[in-house]
Symmetry: D2
Subunit: 286 residues, 4 copies
């Protein structure tokens, strides 16, 4: 197995106190507060993303997710709205004081992604080194998803590409690995979260939606992630999952998201953390 | 994938309220209280198991584990003390009012296992159907570990062998699956726990020690298991792990176990559960 | 990873020239001739096994397979005809001068398995150490299948249990490992065959039927196994796969088996081997 | 699992006779002749690639491989000589009448890759859709490696991106998948080769070097690939593997390559194929 070289920038030793990544709009990831990022898999149209943003804001989540440039296994699947999707996402987010996270697949898309608070590198691109090198030259926060077949060491070394190039604003995201189990889309690897929190100073969040691929497991896995020491979640919610153009079966309904936020609070309290809330409604876990 | 036939005894529909397995000594697994079973991988000698039992009792765990008939990958590894190991385990447990759990590999060992509260079927024997059929004819609690490469459906169908044969006192145990990741011994699959709790009425516990294979991940994974809805833990503790004849690198030290119990309490409270404590010291999570 | 201890009986160094396992009826496995064992997954009734045996003998294969004690994932699946199945298998085999191979799941079945030339330990029982120890005390040939999630090292260590107990008549069988790929039932691991032939002196055969789980891949994989250096095949054939009680989708039809034997000949010749044929019809590859 | 839509360009039905990809210099991949592409993992300097090219030409292989833009897990590993590496590779190849294959990681590298006969998309970039779309607009042959965790269906859908964009000159390459087995770097999946040859009309070759990660398995796996129906090999050879900057442990030595070519001949003959040889020395398998 490839080992992380001693002295690597990504290692905990390089920054024992941990890194806090600050998103525009004052959301801090990696601090005491647990940050829930939520939204649909893809931005489909204005009405859908507005409705989803309502749900996200109402639940108290500070970050809106939504894909505009979509990596799809088949060239015949919906490929995202592209630049227009980014504009719809940013409009929906800014109207509600939310930060926005969306995926970047190609450095050529960066001009269209101005205003996006957090640039996501998807699991399929974790070792797209041309993309990593381009992002390493920016001073913008990057969310680096673990590839479905990457070891923890490989994931951290991909992050090292970003740090070595000069961009220290990196958040890691565990989203399930590929195993023999077919009851779930992927297998959520919370050991990797516990381990990554020890090995690196970077914040680590969890995407339970892509891991499970089914709505009914998302709440349980989210609570487990919080207890395991994750710094936040990236979770899918859709106003009408049955009509979703992408991954509807794993999207929560708006009431599910509110219920999840309600249930996260005491678990986070149990591990000495709080839940990040939009300023107006921010509550410290009691 | 093999599907569980409709009408199977193992399915949640057969017993919507859930099954509580009662171990001799009044420990209930599958109820509101979370049961921590702890002890060394193997019973090595009287002094070791007595010392381990002290640690287990002192931490407030109601069940002592310890292997006597050991399945080992190599024929040249320590194979366990066999019948003598069972006697030492039972002596150490009963002196402290603990129930005992140990592995059975062969129906021929059953006479030697009289007095054991919970008979463990190890991961390697999950589909040893001759053994399952023999245990199905007993009226004794069985702990059925998931094989390292079994799907959740296959695991539940293995349990169905026990129920179909007449033994309904079955506890399931997730202990990590085999994946490409080499940083951990196995990959703990908490999705399987969330899923199994929905699919079946049987209690489900988690073995974080064999999953991780390394002590430093055990506490984090234990808290995650509690938050995910598991009904208990099977965790390794050894008075001097460096001298252990088996799996020392994954064993907690006695103070680690006490600390784990302390940390479990608020997380369990966060999901509406309590921690099972030996009668004298039993505390409801507040 | 568990390493095979230096000096282990299973290692090539212990017997550089290789082991030839002789089955009753003078079939040698591990020599220059490649041995094809064929037959149905399960013995279903007299007519079926007789018809299958006709196909096997007509194709020139010297060994008839057929399960009598069947390990099935579900307790509600056909569990095999047991002792009666063994009798039907032996009758069909002996009438045609074939050796017989069938699975043993439990030492208690051994009396019923008298007359069976080759006792198969199935993949699920590769680490059923009680069974291995019982078989190690016999002087009868054993076919040890690799478990679906066993490393090559673990497989060889399971064989070491047999050799260490005194039984050196062991044939290994690779039958596919469990991976993420769903297009095949398992993933045939021919690297393991090449590697095992280097690491150990024991003969190694391949079961392409369980590996693929689908008839249309069996011939291609069989040729590949022959080229990779395997010593033989264990392949499923059924007179009417659509009516099979078990694994029909992976069974060849009788004409497929003849065609496979015809195609094996020149490939074996290409790697300096010949095809084992029943005495009457034995042909050296030309 | 993602299914290939009916009517997809990649499916066998679209071109039942199969596709032959012609490389500049008249090498045809996908026809009756089996094409061996060989060379070092990376171009290191002029002397090394010249020496390697000598070995490749002397063995009769028509295509020289050598990486110039290298995807490396760690940013601190040798990243390849880039544009200069391409020049050295092309010089070494053209001097000997060989075609050249090298990896492209980023469309921005395409100008530097003029003259390269076959553009390789590495396993890590199999689902780098921006790269696939850029390559789909070229009329140049592309070698598409299967990702270490891609199903066969996903691999074919990645090829569909190329065909749907207008580039039909696609060769597939199986190079091992990621599994639990640690004795090999990856697990060569020859079932995928047999299956892909049925599902698609595109040529399929095999990289036994990255699959095995160790020299001693390469010959056996190469013979198996030929017998399984592959259309060629991509194999690593290095004049002094112990000094290689990249993957030396899996590189053949020049005499190994000659020996491999010698052994391939009769196996290919056994399956009705011949071995592609440089015009001067081209031999039909006899």
């Amino acid at each position: 197995m490839q080992q992380i070289p001693t002295g690597s920038l990504v290692l905990r030793e390089a920054r024992p106190g941990g890194t806090v990544v600050e998103l525009p709009g004052c959301v801090e990831v990696g601090g005491r507060a647990f940050v829930v990022m939520a939204g649909p898999c893809a931005v489909e149209n204005a009405a859908q993303i507005e409705e989803a943003a309502d749900a996200v804001a109402a639940a108290g989540c500070p970050v809106l997710r939504g894909g505009a440039f979509k990596p799809r296994t088949s060239p015949y699947s919906f490929q995202g709205l592209g630049e227009q999707g980014v504009r719809l996402l940013l409009a929906a987010a800014s109207r509600r004081g939310l930060a926005a996270v969306t995926e970047v697949m190609d450095p050529a898309e960066l001009p269209a992604l101005e205003g996006v608070a957090l640039l996501q590198v998807g699991a399929r691109n974790m070792q797209n080194f041309a993309l990593l090198k381009a992002l390493s030259r920016l001073q913008r926060p990057v969310l680096l998803k673990r590839a479905a077949s990457a070891t923890v060491e490989e994931w951290l070394l991909a992050a090292e590409y970003l740090l070595a190039g000069g961009n220290a604003q990196v958040i890691l995201c565990e989203r399930g690995i590929r195993t023999f189990e077919t009851a779930t889309r992927n297998t959520l690897d919370l050991s990797a979260v516990v381990l990554a929190k020890q090995r690196t100073h970077l914040p680590v969040i969890v995407d339970p939606s892509h891991a499970a691929g089914r709505r009914d497991l998302v709440a349980g896995l989210s609570l487990a992630a919080a207890a395991a020491g994750a710094d936040g979640l990236l979770v899918e919610v859709h106003p009408r999952p049955a009509e979703a153009l992408c991954d509807g079966s794993q999207a929560l309904l708006p009431p599910d998201l509110r219920e999840l936020m309600r249930r996260l609070l005491p678990v986070l309290h149990g591990v000495g953390r709080e839940l990040w809330r939009a300023p107006a409604q921010r509550m410290v876990a009691r």
